[in-house]
Every structure is written in structure tokens, then in C-alpha cells.
């Protein structure tokens, strides 16, 4: 009896594999393998933690970063569209290493006539071309851009040997720069400014043929120190065009000389406001500093319309000073209308600022500064209070580019001032995105040249939150929409990309120069992944705390992907290695469905299958302890009348057990399930995800259960659950609110929803024709 008992229980445990085991005996012996678990921890992918960067994702005790301070005198030649400057860089070596040479970035050299960037990409003849494109492709010569370096001198004015390797310049030091030492040197340079509306440059000018003026948005305009770090050594990967920047923090004192009738603003605090502002501008500025609800116009459209006819030969120098920024940029033109308002962040006031040519009105006057203010508030609440004193949004045609405290944004109305919703929302979104970049990567200073997603993805995720919050704060600005129409962030929006042709998809963890579709790869997918983490995997509370922890740990520092991944786990106690592995290191997609449902009832006697199994082992029912039997609906020998009956009515064994072990009161309180279901879910997609299920019952009630992603850890292909219910189950929907970016929803329902195919519709249409 004991033996039989043992035997029976082992059978119970094995019962799920009871049929398939027979088939498997014929198989060849399989070779062993490394772990194929999608839940394997990321030890092999992650860098080993060390004294610079800890396993918790925080900066370690030996963490260091270099400092580069700049003093610059810049002069703009508006007539010839040239810019020239002299900079003195003071570089502090905080690393433990001795440096024999320094690397500077010469981004403008990506626009030299012989630039390798011009011939890197494959080209094919297209059989039709627009005339403009035809001329650009086959007729026009390349733009004569790139830095002209006049000298590189040491602090005593003695030339320093230097070598230019395309977009990088190496300065060889006479003596190595020891740890904790400082060196100063000067570089004199000039270059021709490109028309950014023609060649999609990130900076340059737009020419306005009607009045003959240019509006300049100037950035990446001076030789800048490359980053030297514990992770990359010198980050001297060339600037091909997509991988943006890796820059050290430093302090800037910049004097910019421009025509006297220009209006200029840039990174940093204006040091000589009284010299460059008129009395009226000063008065308006004082007013703006106290205006928290709407912008005050500092330079009006009427004033600009006079200015843009002037073309003054006189010059004016604007002096700006910025502390702890990673870069410097400015915008200048006779055409800039200028408005500002104050924003309260904690106990500090920050100025939200906009500059735009009249061609941007009325759209820009109505909305730009409002959007800047709302963005600063949203981002600050999710990360840290914006630490700089202002954020400027400059209107530049077709642009969307970010620098510390200043960014260029598109959104141009028609000539008559009308604009479509598409233009309006495009402008809101780009301003939110670019102002948002102040947080990632200007302050949380990741390496954009290597990891495009670390700033674009995080920023696009934050942009989604800020857009939704903007819509809630200014319902009239988004009317007639009631919810801000975000282009990215919502899970359903990433489905066409993730479900697309695998040969043109790269993982997120890929250099931005090597991905196929930078938009969905570095912006859309990571933003959606984080949104799904927040809403579905971790929940808002855990996510928000962890995300904030990351932002605060790494503000004014240089984080790596591991620092982000580790901090999100460190601050939440949620194991996310499976999520990072699947979403960031692979091109797998989500496809989870419900495969089938088996219905069972309690019976009073063993099923045929059970009997056969016992017989095969020379056992009878009497040899094993009393059981409660479950039989599949419709299987042989099962009385269909048992459906919907209480188990204790059907099974004497259960009835007796309850009589023996429960008091009458306890028995009365027992809620016996009448219906038993074995539901099989399957996962054709590679990504493990939480399984979100809506069960619908015959009485009209619904029940939602979210099974954690860990259900997939032992079987990657399918997952079975038994539902014991007092109510009859009539329907199952997987991911009913489309939260997981499931690429194929035809397998998400039981019973299968009869959806008419395009083919059936066509057949119906042609009937009778």
C-alpha cells in the first residue's frame, strides 16, 4: 500500500508530461548547452563593477571626471557668414592617469569638402528626382566648411604640436599632464557658416530673401575637449553625423561680438545687460522676472520689423558666463522677437525664454514660452529641479537640436499666419523634447557618441510624460483634442517597428551610426520600453523613485548604460535583467496569446485515461487512497449532467472529507468552485512580459489578473494555469488594454474572435459585380 501510494503521487507530479514522455523516448540524446534562460543575469554583458562605478549603479569612491574651462572671444561676420574665435582652454586632469596628449573635437570638419561623411553611405540611382534634389545630388559641389585652425599655443604663446585626424585634433604635450595637474592653451580658428536649411546641419543660418537677413543658430562652433573617462579613455570616435556629443563639464566666459542691431542669447548669464539692452528692454525684463503666468515681450515684432531693415555697421559685444555646463551655444539675428517669463521651481526662479523671427508668429508668441515653462516643471518633478537660471527655445526652420540652456525648434506657420494642428503639435513636441534635453544629456551627461538612446530614449520617455502633463495643464492649447496626441511612448505606436523585417532592426544597445532606423531605435523603442516599465512592469511608484534616483545620482556626471540599468534595480528591488536583456540587447518582440482552454468537472469515478494508467501498473482504484477525480468535458464516460454541480454533491470522497474535518459552520462558509479550466497561454514572441489576462464570466463579471513575467522562466513557449471558479468562464482576452506592444493580437482572445480579413471584405465587395 505504501508503495502504491508513493507510486501514485509520483504519477500525479508527472501527469502533465504523461503523454509526451512516450513520444520523447524515441529522441536522440541531446547535447548539453549553456544557459539559454531569458532571465539569466547580465553578468556577461555588463562591465565589472569597480571603484569608479559600483554594482548598485552609483558613482564609486574613485569616480572622477575631467574639467574643461573655456574663455572665448568670438566674432560673427554677418556679411560673409563667417565666424572666428580665440579660446583659452584650461584643462584639469582629475583622473589617476598621466596624459601625454589631449584630444579635441572639431565637429565642423564633418562639413569639409573632402569629408568622409559625404561618401560613407551607399547610393543608388533613383529613377525620378525632384529638381532641387537632382541639383543637390548631381550638380552642386559640396559646401566649403570645416575649421581653419590658425594656431594652437601654450600659455606662453609658444606653438604646441598638433595633428588633425578629420573631426578630432590631438595636441601633443611637451610634458605629460600628471594626475590633478592643470594645463592652459589657446586655439584660434574660423569657419564658413553653413545654411542649415539646405544641408540639414545642426547649426548654421537661415536666410530670409525678403529682407536679406540671416538668423543664426550657432553650436559645435569651437574646438571642444573630448571626454576622458574610466570607461572609454579618450572618447575620440569621429563625428559622422548621427552620434551626437560626449563633453566634459566646465565653466565658460564668452564674449560674442555681432552687428550692433542683433539680438543675441545663449548659454549662461548675461554679464553686461545694461550695455546691450535699451532702457525699455531693461524695464520689460524686470517685469518679466515677476511674471509667472504669461511671458513679457522684451523685443516686439514692431521693433524687429524696424531692426531688420537696418544692417548696422557698428558692433556690440554680448558677455555670457556659465558654470558647470558641458557645452556652449548661441543664437543671434536682427530678426529675433524675444519674450520671457519666470517659472517657480522649489524656492528658485528660472526664466523661460523664446526667440523667434516674425515668420514664426502668431504660433510662437502664443505658445513657445508657455511650453518651455511647462516642460521645466514636468521634468523637474520627475528628476531634480532645473539647476540653471534659464531655458531658451529658438525658432529655426526644420531644426530640433539641443544645447545647454538653449535649443532650436521647428514649427513654421504658413505665410498668412495660419497653421495646421500638425504644425502646432509638432512645435509643442519638439520644444518639450529639446528643452527636456537640458536634463538628459546636458546635466545627466551620458556619452551620446556611443549611446544615442541614453539621452534620446530617456528624453523621449520624459517627453511623453511632459506632453501628457502639458495637455492637462493647458486643455485649451490642445483643443479639440482632449488628450495630447503623443507620437511616441504609447505601446501600440512601436508595434510596426518591432514587428517589422528583422533584417533592418538593430538592438537598442548599438552605436547610433550603425542602427538602421535611428528614430524608432534610439527614441521610440527605449521611450516605449520605459513607459511599459513604469505602467505595467514596475508600477509608477517604484519606477518614479528609481528613475529619480538615477537622475540624482548622475546629475553633473557621466553615466553609462549599466549605471542606469543597475540603479533602476537597486532602487526598486525589481529584477529587471530579463527586461534589459530582451528590450535593449535583442531585437525580440512581444507576442503572447491564449492557445486553448480545457474544461473539467469533478466526477465520482476515475476517467478512462486514469483507469488505463492504473491498469498498466497492475493497480486498481482500491489500491490508492480515495481521490477526487476531474474529467475533461466531453471525454469518454463523463456524465454531462455533472456540469455546474457542486464538487461535494458529486464526489462522496470530498463530502466525507469535509464532514470529517470541517465543522458545520466551516462547511457552510466553504465556497466550492463548480467549474475547472486549464488555460494554455503561449508566447510566439521572444520577449518575456507580464501576462495580463481579462477573464469574463457568464454572469457578466470580469476579473483581471496580471501574472508576472517570471511565469516564462521555466517554459519559454507556453504557460498553463488552472482556473477554479464558481462561475462559468466565457471569454479570455490577453493584454486587453494593449499595454505590452504585442505585435500580433489575432491570438489574444478565446474564443477566437472572428475578424473579417481584408480578403473576405474584398470578396464581399466584388460579389454580384
Amino acid at each position: 500500500m505504501r508503495k502504491a501510494n508513493y507510486c501514485f503521487f509520483s504519477l500525479l507530479f508527472l501527469s502533465t508530461v504523461f503523454l509526451s514522455a512516450q513520444e520523447e523516448t524515441k529522441k536522440e540524446r541531446e547535447p548539453g548547452h549553456y544557459s539559454q534562460s531569458r532571465f539569466k543575469q547580465l553578468y556577461e554583458e555588463f562591465a565589472t563593477p569597480n571603484m569608479f562605478r559600483t554594482a548598485s549603479g552609483a558613482p564609486g569612491p574613485a569616480y572622477y571626471q575631467q574639467q574643461a574651462d573655456y574663455k572665448m572671444d568670438i566674432e560673427l561676420d554677418d556679411k560673409n557668414a563667417k565666424i572666428a574665435g580665440v579660446e583659452t582652454i584650461t584643462y584639469t586632469n582629475n583622473s589617476p592617469d598621466e596624459l601625454g596628449f589631449l584630444w579635441l573635437q572639431l565637429d565642423q570638419n564633418t562639413r569639409t569638402k573632402d569629408s568622409k561623411a559625404l561618401i560613407r553611405d551607399a547610393s543608388e540611382v533613383s529613377e525620378a528626382e525632384q529638381p532641387e534634389g537632382f541639383l543637390k545630388k548631381y550638380v552642386d559641389g559640396p559646401f566649403d566648411g570645416g575649421f581653419h585652425i590658425e594656431y594652437v599655443n601654450d600659455a606662453n604663446g609658444k606653438p604646441l604640436p598638433h595633428t588633425v585626424n578629420w573631426t578630432m585634433m590631438r595636441i601633443d604635450l611637451p610634458q605629460p599632464l600628471k594626475s590633478k595637474e592643470q594645463i592652459s592653451f589657446s586655439v584660434k580658428w574660423w569657419y564658413n557658416i553653413p545654411d542649415h536649411t539646405i544641408n540639414r546641419a545642426r547649426s548654421g543660418y537661415e536666410y530670409f530673401p525678403k529682407d536679406g537677413n540671416r538668423a543664426y543658430v550657432i553650436a559645435q562652433f569651437f574646438p571642444r575637449m573630448a571626454v576622458y573617462s574610466d570607461v572609454e579613455g579618450w572618447q575620440n570616435h569621429q563625428f559622422w553625423g548621427n552620434g551626437e556629443f560626449a563633453l566634459p563639464f566646465g565653466n565658460y566666459e564668452v564674449n560674442i561680438t555681432v552687428p550692433a542691431d542683433h539680438i543675441l542669447d545663449g548659454t549662461g548669464e548675461l554679464q553686461n545687460r545694461k550695455e546691450v539692452f535699451s532702457k525699455e528692454m531693461m524695464a520689460r525684463y524686470e517685469q518679466a522676472k515677476k511674471s509667472y503666468d504669461k511671458p513679457v515681450i522684451i523685443v516686439t515684432q514692431a521693433e524687429v520689423e524696424v531692426l531688420e531693415k537696418g544692417f548696422s555697421d557698428k558692433k556690440k559685444t554680448w558677455k555670457l558666463k556659465a558654470e558647470n555646463v558641458r557645452d556652449f551655444a548661441f543664437a543671434t539675428s536682427r530678426k529675433f522677437i524675444w519674450d520671457m517669463q519666470a517659472v517657480k521651481l522649489g524656492n528658485r526662479d528660472v526664466m523661460a525664454v523664446s526667440m523667434y523671427p516674425k515668420e514664426g508668429n502668431p504660433l510662437w508668441e502664443d505658445y513657445s514660452t508657455k511650453v518651455v515653462a511647462s516642460t521645466l516643471k514636468s521634468y523637474s518633478s520627475h528628476t531634480f529641479d532645473y539647476p540653471y537660471h534659464k531655458a531658451i527655445s529658438v525658432h529655426a526652420k526644420n531644426q530640433g537640436m539641443e544645447y545647454p540652456m538653449i535649443c532650436w525648434n521647428y514649427g513654421r506657420p504658413n505665410e498668412d499666419g495660419t497653421y495646421s494642428d500638425r504644425v502646432k503639435f509638432g512645435m509643442f513636441s519638439v520644444i518639450i523634447h529639446e528643452v527636456g534635453h537640458n536634463f538628459f544629456p546636458m546635466i545627466v551627461n551620458s556619452d551620446e557618441r556611443q549611446w544615442g538612446w541614453m539621452d534620446e530614449g530617456l528624453d523621449t520617455f520624459m517627453q511623453y510624460l511632459a506632453e501628457q502633463e502639458f495637455g492637462e495643464t493647458y486643455p485649451e492649447a490642445i483643443s479639440p483634442e482632449t488628450k495630447y496626441p503623443s507620437r511616441r511612448g504609447d505601446p501600440s505606436k512601436i508595434v510596426p517597428y518591432m514587428g517589422g523585417d528583422q533584417s533592418t532592426i538593430a538592438p537598442i544597445m548599438e552605436n547610433p551610426e550603425s542602427v538602421f532606423q535611428l528614430g524608432p531605435n534610439a527614441y521610440g523603442k527605449p521611450a516605449t520600453a520605459l513607459n511599459i516599465l513604469r505602467e505595467t512592469v514596475m508600477g509608477r511608484e517604484l519606477f518614479d523613485h528609481a528613475f529619480k534616483t538615477y537622475a540624482n545620482r548622475w546629475k553633473f556626471k557621466h553615466p553609462t548604460p549599466e549605471d542606469f540599468f543597475r540603479t533602476m534595480e537597486d532602487a526598486s528591488a525589481v529584477d529587471l535583467d530579463w527586461f534589459w536583456r530582451g528590450w535593449f540587447y535583442t531585437t525580440d518582440y512581444v507576442d503572447i496569446g491564449v492557445k486553448g482552454v480545457k474544461k473539467y468537472y469533478v466526477t465520482d469515478k476515475p476517467t478512462k485515461k486514469m483507469k488505463e494508467y492504473l491498469a498498466a501498473r497492475n493497480l486498481t482504484e482500491a489500491d490508492i487512497p480515495a481521490q477526487i477525480y476531474l474529467a475533461e468535458e466531453g471525454s469518454e464516460g463523463v456524465d454531462p449532467n455533472l456540469k455546474g454541480k457542486l464538487p461535494s454533491e458529486v464526489s462522496k470522497t470530498l463530502k466525507e472529507y469535509m464532514m470529517d474535518n470541517l465543522t458545520a459552520t466551516e462547511r457552510a462558509a466553504v465556497k466550492e468552485p463548480k467549474y475547472f479550466y486549464e488555460v494554455t497561454f503561449d508566447k510566439p514572441g521572444g520577449l518575456p512580459m507580464p501576462l495580463i489576462v481579462e477573464y469574463a464570466y457568464a454572469d457578466g463579471s470580469k476579473e483581471n489578473i496580471t501574472y508576472p513575467a517570471e511565469i516564462w522562466r521555466k517554459s519559454d513557449a507556453d504557460f498553463k494555469r488552472v482556473i477554479a471558479s464558481q462561475k462559468e468562464l466565457i471569454g479570455i482576452v490577453v493584454d486587453p488594454k494593449a499595454e505590452t506592444a504585442d505585435i500580433d493580437i489575432t491570438n489574444n482572445s478565446w474564443p477566437k474572435k472572428e475578424e473579417k480579413s481584408d480578403f473576405d471584405n474584398f470578396k464581399e465587395q466584388i460579389k454580384g459585380k
Binding site: G500, I743, F762
Partner: protein, 168 residues
Amino acid sequence: MRILKKSFLILVLPLVAFAAAHKFYISVTNITYSEKVKALQITTRIFIDDFDKLLEERYGITAQLATEQESDRASDYIEKYVRAKFTVRINGKDAQFRFLGKKYDNDLLICYLEVPKVVFSDIKSIEIQNELLMDIFEEQQNIVHFKLNDQRKSFILVRENNKGVLNL
């Protein structure tokens, strides 16, 4: 098993990507099985301008597809051409298909073909030979997606390799 599964990826080509990839000369064919009517149902999406060019060069007719001036003969020639360049074989034998018709969707021509009287459990293999437009565009790629019940498989067919076989 893992490796086998991986090759059954669904390559859904969204229309946006389709348009952007136009200069590569692509058509997309979807093949499904309808249990209801016991038939293989096939849709083929081809760029209208590519097909216009084909009809002009091959048959000398100015079809002007999807315009008010569309030639009366266009439909007949489209069917004639599809029958010449598109073959379905089930279990190694040529299967006859009905050319149900065509419709336009923006810049795409969609042809609807149906192979009637097919019992799913009898299918051991389906072979698609798709040489559409390869006679005029050297670099034409014809993408074929099979999606039959749980089976999914995709092929990119080119001149040198113009057949795809799904074994069930």
C-alpha cells in the same frame, strides 16, 4: 526547436516602411488559409507605377492604372501577367488559382488570388514561385509571407532564387 521557431518570424512589412523602401523594387505577397471556405487566399501588393511601366514595356499598352483614364484592357493584362509569373504548387503539383480581382490602395495595386478546394490537413508543402516584375527590374525583390494557422514563414525572392517552399 528553438532555432526552428526563430525562423518562423512574422515579417510584417508596414506600409510606411514599404513606401520608404520603394527604390528597392519590392512586392509583398501574403498567403493564408481560410478554414471557412477551404481555400488558400493570396494577396499581392505591387507599386502601381512599377506595374504601369511593366504593362508599357511588355505589352505596349498605356494602362494609366488607378486613374480615370485607366485602359479597359488593364485588368485582363494584369491577370495574364500574374498567371505567367506567379505559380502555386501544393504537394509538388501546380494548383489552379482564381484571379478574383484587383483594388488600389494609395500607390499600391493589390491583387486577390484564391486556390479553392484545399483541405488543410492534406497540405504537405506549398511552393510559391514569384517572378513578378523581375523581367523589367533587375533588383526586384518579392517578399512572400506564409501565415497558415500557426505556421509562419517568410521569403525574400529574387531572380536567382525565385521559389519559396513551406513544408507543413
